[in-house]
């Protein structure tokens, strides 16, 4: 049997896929990118089911639910643009093992040049205080009153173009958000890469080369299959996302390392809602819905001398009203009363050090799980927070209260956990490392025992990061891209940044 051939097949077109797709194509390789989601050109401001859900999936496991992108550009299209380097101590984490979990080859210092490249390529800018939305201002003012510091969050947003619509979850209709659609992907296509939307990779098999099998998905109902196919390539880059890459490997007729589908981390994400009393604030607020979703954050508890599992950041953030049900408002009249003050809500995201507790069970027959409806997928992922993770969350809750409840400014409550914990930052389910028992990938992002098969998405990140992960995923993908290109026998050093050649 003969198959279509490519030099490199990239699975997924988010941060982890777009970066290597560009470098491989720019170095002269024939690259095909297979993306499960649709290619969208307009991003309507609407929370109607069937509109924003075209680009966003809710992947529901047992004890955890993950929000992920599902379109060309992946999560970069629907994310909130926060672009931070992970603190140095993260790379030194031991996670109870007695030794470093990250590969020896990677530290903050060694990753800094790659971070810098991504910051230049996207590009990233740090907002001025005059560009910080009300909600970020309120959080900063509360931090200051409580004796804390508070920083503007670096963003992959063109702030001159941004109209502060607060619809970043729906994509960006103003081309202000610097998603992969504006940098690496167009550069990859200009260099000859072919992006195929609505192509969901199901399995890999291996002979002399890898055979990547996919189904083609109906654009109006992602549950329907309208075609099948396969491509043969010597090099395959898996970047389907941390909740989709493990099932592909588990399902494939490959003898994959035992660490595939283990050590999942939700980045220690923990959301709380404060209801702000304007009178106590001393300045008008009622601006929850106004501006960009992420503006300011506190680095104070990212203190490297504190014990592991006790360090975290606190970030002001806005989630669209579809998440209101997660606010701990009670039911009946109290739920209605709380919503009457919705304009005075303020939400904060703690990003803590979790314990990589997530484990994937046997994979569903296709995709990242059983697609129940629209954008809801049932995953085999199971997550039970350890006592150390719970302690980290409790400390973050205490700090949020110390800042936001001081002087009666507000009352703060974590999101309800009836859907388990909720993460927008799934990580570590197929991670890099030096120890083959606990890492499916070596420090070159290659799947152990499978030359030419690489993983470059959030699943490769070994631990929670205490900050939003996108910049780290992209920086690791930048670093890995050089290795991947060289593994195809092509020179990698001369490829310029996208758009800078």
């Amino acid at each position: 049997m003969t198959f279509e051939k490519a030099d490199v097949v990239v699975v997924g077109s988010g941060f982890g896929g777009a970066v290597p797709a560009y470098y491989c194509a720019a170095s002269g390789a024939k690259v095909v990118v297979l993306e499960r989601g649709p290619r969208l050109t307009r991003f309507p401001h609407s929370l109607r089911l069937g509109e924003f859900t075209r680009a966003v999936d809710l992947v529901v496991g047992d004890g955890v639910a993950a929000v992920t992108g599902n379109c060309v550009g992946g999560s970069s299209v629907v994310y909130f643009g926060a672009s931070l380097r992970a603190p140095s101590f993260v790379f030194e984490r031991r996670c109870g093992t007695g030794r470093r979990v990250w590969p020896r080859a990677i530290s903050r210092a060694s990753l800094d040049p790659w971070y810098a490249r991504v910051e230049q390529a996207l590009p990233v800018e740090v907002p001025q205080w005059s560009q910080i939305a009300y909600s970020g201002g309120v959080f900063a003012a509360a931090c200051s009153r409580a004796g804390r510091t508070c920083n503007p969050v670096p963003l992959a947003v063109d702030l001159k173009r941004c109209v502060n619509c607060n619809w970043m979850l729906a994509g960006c209709d103003f081309d202000a958000k610097r998603s992969m659609l504006l940098n690496y992907l167009p550069a990859a296509e200009a260099a000859g890469a072919e992006i195929r939307p609505l192509h969901e990779v199901q399995t890999l098999t291996r002979g002399d080369r890898y055979v990547v099998s996919y189904t083609v998905i109906d654009p109006d109902d992602y549950r329907k299959v309208v075609g099948i196919g396969a491509i043969e390539a010597k090099t395959v880059v898996l970047a389907a996302g941390a909740v989709a890459t493990p099932p592909i490997l588990q399902r494939s007729a490959l003898d994959v390392p035992g660490a595939v589908g283990k050590y999942f981390s939700g980045n220690g994400d923990r959301v709380s809602i404060a209801v702000v009393d304007d009178k106590k604030l001393g300045m008008p607020y009622e601006g929850f819905a106004v501006g960009r979703p992420i503006n300011t954050m506190s680095f104070d508890r990212l203190d490297p001398v504190q014990p592991e599992y006790e360090r975290f950041s606190l970030q002001q953030i806005y989630f669209p009203a579809i998440t209101n049900v997660l606010a701990d408002t009670g039911f009946g009249d109290s739920a209605r009363d709380a919503r009457a003050k919705w304009a005075s809500w303020l939400s904060v995201l703690a990003m803590t050090e979790d314990d990589n507790e997530g484990v994937f069970g046997p994979p569903a027959p296709s995709g990242s799980g059983l697609r129940l409806a629209l954008s809801v997928v049932r995953s085999s992922l199971r997550y039970r927070p350890s006592s150390r993770t719970l302690r980290g969350w409790a400390l973050a809750d205490d700090e949020a209260k110390a800042i936001l409840e001081r002087g009666g400014l507000s009352t703060v409550k974590p999101w309800r956990d009836f859907a388990g914990s909720v993460t927008a930052h799934p990580l570590a389910s197929c991670r890099i490392g030096d120890d083959p028992r606990t890492s499916a990938l070596d420090d070159r992002h290659e799947v152990r025992g499978h030359p030419g098969l690489f993983v470059t998405d959030g699943s490769a990140v070994p631990t929670s990061l205490c900050v939003n992960p996108s910049l780290t995923i992209a920086a690791l993908a930048e670093r890995a891209s050089r290795i991947i290109v060289e593994s195809t026998g092509r020179p990698a050093r001369d490829v310029p940044l996208p758009g800078k050649g």
Binding site: Y115, C150, D221, V325, R339, F418
Partner: protein, 168 residues
């Protein structure tokens, strides 16, 4: 004592088509006004594929209400309903996912008019969006906020912040 598994079975063979008001009572307990805001329309959206399961879900809710308080859900007073809904969403049973799904969808009708284009819903005075005081869009159906910032520094930055704005 009836097991949760048999309860689920009982509910799924419940007669189709007859509404006891249980779904409406559930929706209006999650947020009072959710039914008026379109919760039943959301539950019946063809793209969700839930319509055939709704009578079973309603019967399941009533069964749990009868077991817990002796009457169907719609016949309970608001405090009893709130307590039962809280218990159902916290329970560890197989049927909990049904209640969580119902809660998410019913709330989405109220909080974001999940069955409607948001701009049209906001302009037409959708009761949930109006209750939230959801802002109005521009004429083209997109939101823009020219006024959005206090315009001044409100806290000192962390002293070890790097030039890229990141922690060290």
């Amino acid at each position: 004592m009836i097991s949760r598994r048999s309860l689920l079975g009982l509910a799924l063979v419940a007669p189709l088509g007859r509404s006891s008001g249980a779904l409406e009572a559930f929706a209006d307990t999650i947020v009072p006004g959710a039914t008026r805001a379109g919760a039943m329309t959301v539950l019946r959206l063809p793209s969700l594929g839930l319509a055939l399961l709704l009578p079973g879900m309603a019967a399941l809710l009533d069964t749990r209400a009868v077991l817990s308080a002796g009457r169907p859900l719609a016949a309970l007073n608001p405090a009893e309903r709130a307590a039962l809904v809280d218990e159902l969403l916290r329970s560890g049973g197989l049927d909990r996912e049904v209640y969580v799904l119902l809660a998410l969808l019913c709330a989405s009708a109220f909080d974001c008019a999940a069955h409607l284009n948001t701009a049209q819903a906001a302009r037409s005075g959708h009761p949930g969006l109006r209750h939230l005081r959801f802002p109005m869009p521009d004429a083209d159906g997109l939101w823009r906020f020219p006024e959005y910032s206090y315009g001044r520094r409100l806290a000192p930055s962390h002293p070890q912040t790097t030039a890229a704005g990141s922690p060290p």
